[in-house]
């Protein structure tokens, strides 16, 4: 398909297939029109979308800025979810390692039985193992709850930001009233 770079701007994006319609909605608000959608050649869970927009669209600089911020906000949603439990996972991992090591040491001390102090060390290790297991459960639960809350707050802040960006974009781009009008616009552009 030949491109008319003098009259149109083009944008190629790969979008997570399950979020395609929502994300395309955001791009439409920014004045982009879908030209072609197909499966991404590299990733099976992504869709490849080509979009275009009139080169001389009003408020282009602002729209470009809003677009970058929108893309950043959309991508940060995944980032927030993906990194929500990093801290708690690290803490739990350390405690689990302590638990395993102490359990192993306790078992070794109890089984050796040749020294009187082995029993003492064994009990110390067992207590530490139990404490670390308990701490892993409690810290895990508390930290995870706190992290969930923090992630939820961040996500709602991002969603609010996206809403405000969309609202601003809607004011800058004259939106087609209905689908027929949109189609008519596309035919005219084409």
């Amino acid at each position: 398909m030949s491109k008319d770079y003098n009259n149109f701007d083009y944008l190629s994006v790969s979008v997570k297939s399950d979020q395609l319609s929502r994300i395309l909605q955001c791009y439409r608000v920014l004045g982009w029109t879908e030209v072609k959608t197909e499966d991404d050649k590299r990733y099976y869970d992504m869709s490849y979308v080509r979009l275009r927009r009139p080169h001389k669209i009003p408020n282009k600089d602002r729209l470009q800025y809003l677009q970058v911020r929108m893309e950043s906000a959309i991508n940060s949603l995944v980032e927030i979810v993906g990194r929500a439990h990093v801290k708690s996972t690290a803490v739990i991992s350390v405690l689990v390692i302590i638990f395993l090591v102490c359990t192993g040491l306790a078992a070794w001390q109890f089984l050796s039985l040749n020294q009187a102090y082995s029993q003492v060390y064994g009990w110390i290790c067992a207590v530490v193992a139990c404490a670390s297991a308990l701490a892993a459960c409690i810290a895990g639960a508390c930290l995870r709850r706190r992290e969930r809350r923090a992630a939820a707050d961040k996500i709602s802040a991002r969603l609010k930001l996206m809403q405000s960006l969309i609202a601003e974009a809607k004011l800058l781009v004259p939106q087609p009233q209905n689908e027929e009008e949109e189609r008519a616009g596309e035919v005219n552009n084409g």
Binding site: V13, M46, Q64, Y65, V68, R69, L77
Partner: protein, 528 residues
């Protein structure tokens, strides 16, 4: 199911199996987020480092056999250190060089002398001077009529330091983005009749270059004299194919300071200027280069904030002269400049426009001095937009003094870095000024590439960053003006940008690793 359809299905299955799961933390991946052409630079850098190693090794080898050779090296290093201290460099640069020469006494002085433009750029500077002397007659007498006293002082400095004239009767148009600048350039290029001169740091293949090329090709075919100067480091992504296409169509394409795999510090001097002259009637400059990221066709570092300015009238001649001087320097052929002057449209404007250039061809740091002069002239407000903030102490001190004196000093910086190590120092330098009352702004999700300085009475638009490279090592250009319309347009651009910025109330606290990295980077910042 027949054989052929089964075969095609299995092919599809295989291709599907070959595709991976998308594992990045992203819902949207922009297909143009990539940089091109860095291989050439990395390769040249590695070869140069290898040669540097050999030089140091050869210098050091005899020391293993001859103890007195070490003594001689140490003596030379001490003499070199004294020579550094008595030179006219910035104090910070002196400190770094003295330490470098004394610590690496077995070869450091060789690198110092090889990097010293006084010795290594002397021949080139003589050629520049010869060109200047021949072409001086094309610059009118310094005028600056109607200028305010502070403006008059800066213009007077420019006149004496580089024989740059201050013009009246010039109309300016400010563009708050690269996209707007190049849309205008493309429109005006369509009406070119006799010559088009383009001098750019970065020219890269892409949509923007194709748009410009469509017109340039047509103009070259019509017999318009089209000349292009590009810098070899900045234009890494300017393909050989495209250059050949241009040359075949009659465009004269010249490279500035070709990147060669040969150890020479002259490689450090890059042509960072951005000049377009059309028929001697219209000229453009600003921060934007001819590459897709500058017009936000590509988003390599978030939104790209850039600026530009158009000149019409008397001052266009100065831009033509800057280009022709650089052209003569590169081609090493002298020619008659006179056909390219005096084509400007006669306009009336009472405001002063002073185009200037700076770089290794001048002994004085003209671009830095203009900034200092403008900073010192600020009475109520001083707004700065720059991608990098690594100035030397004198500039920092001027900013602090202004802020303490009650001037509203604001600096807009990027929030997305293009070079992480430079950004670390930039942020640290900027945030250290907060306690003195300087307001620092980071434009969200953006890379700020504009180079602007604004006071209540004048503005500087150009290519000069607030860093040592721009002040001391690169060929730069700028426009100083007191045009009320431009000052208002630049101020409006700043006012529009502030609400989109994060504005830290205090300096960010750095972790140990970060603090050490910043300290090291700050130490070598005069050499960056």
């Amino acid at each position: 199911m027949d054989k052929s359809s089964r075969a095609s299905h299995s092919l599809e299955d295989r291709s599907r199996r070959r595709r991976q799961r998308f594992t990045e933390d992203k819902l949207v991946k922009i297909r143009t987020e990539h940089s091109a052409g860095s291989f050439k630079t990395i390769f040249a850098a590695l070869i140069i480092l290898f040669q540097l190693g050999i030089i140091i090794l050869l210098g050091t080898l005899p020391a293993f056999a001859l103890w007195w050779y070490l003594l001689i090296l140490a003596a030379i290093s001490i003499i070199t250190a004294f020579s550094v201290l008595s030179s006219h460099r910035a104090a910070q640069a002196k400190a770094v060089w003295v330490l470098f020469v004394l610590v690496f006494f077995f070869g450091g002085f060789i690198i110092y002398f090889m990097s010293n433009d006084k010795y290594m750029y002397a021949r080139a500077r003589r050629r520049h001077r010869a060109i200047f002397a021949r072409s001086e007659k094309f610059l009118p007498e310094y005028a600056a009529l109607n200028a305010a006293p502070d403006m008059k002082l800066t213009c007077s400095y420019l006149s004496r330091a580089g024989k740059f004239a201050a013009y009246n009767n010039t109309k300016l148009q400010y563009f708050p983005s690269g996209a707007q600048l190049f849309d205008d350039v493309i429109e005006k290029l369509k009406s070119a009749r006799s010559f088009v001169f383009i001098e750019y740091y970065a020219v890269s293949d892409g949509v923007l270059l194709n748009r410009i090329w469509d017109i340039l090709k047509q103009k070259a075919e019509e017999g318009v004299d089209v000349r292009l100067i590009y810098d070899d480091v900045g234009s890494r992504a300017f393909s050989r194919g495209m250059r050949k296409k241009m040359r075949d169509s009659g465009v004269q394409v010249k490279v500035f300071n070709r990147l060669i795999s040969w150890f020479t510090f002259a490689m450090n001097y890059r042509d960072h200027r951005k000049i377009i002259v059309i028929d001697g009637c219209i000229a453009y400059t600003g921060g934007s280069n001819i590459a897709d990221e500058y017009v936000n066709e590509k988003h390599m570092h978030g939104y790209w904030k850039d600026t530009g300015i158009r000149l019409e009238g008397e001052a266009v001649d100065a831009m033509t002269l800057f280009f022709l001087r650089q052209w003569e320097f590169i081609t090493k052929k002298s020619f008659d400049y006179s056909p390219y002057f005096g084509h400007y449209q006669t306009l009336y404007s009472p405001y002063v426009v002073a185009p200037y250039v700076g770089g290794p061809e001048y002994e004085l740091t003209i671009c830095k001095s203009v900034f200092e002069s403008v900073i010192n002239s600020a009475r109520q407000k001083l707004y700065i937009m720059t991608p990098y903030f690594i100035p030397d102490d004198s500039v920092v001190q001027s900013l602090i003094n202004k802020a303490l004196a009650g001037v509203d000093v604001r600096i807009i910086l990027p929030s997305v870095p293009d070079k992480y190590y430079v950004y670390l120092v930039t942020r640290d330098n900027a945030e250290k000024l907060i306690k003195y009352g300087v307001k620092i702004y980071y434009l969200r999700d953006s890379f700020v590439h504009s180079k602007l300085v604004l006071t209540e009475s004048c503005a500087v638009v150009g290519t000069v960053n607030f860093d040592m490279r721009s002040f001391y090592q690169q060929f730069e250009n700028g426009i100083l003006t007191d045009d009320k319309n431009v000052v208002a347009a630049v101020a409006a651009d700043f006012e529009r940008t502030f609400p989109d910025c994060d504005h830290p109330a205090s300096a960010a606290k750095n972790g140990l690793a970060r603090a050490v990295a910043i300290a090291l980077l700050r130490f070598i910042s005069p050499l960056m």
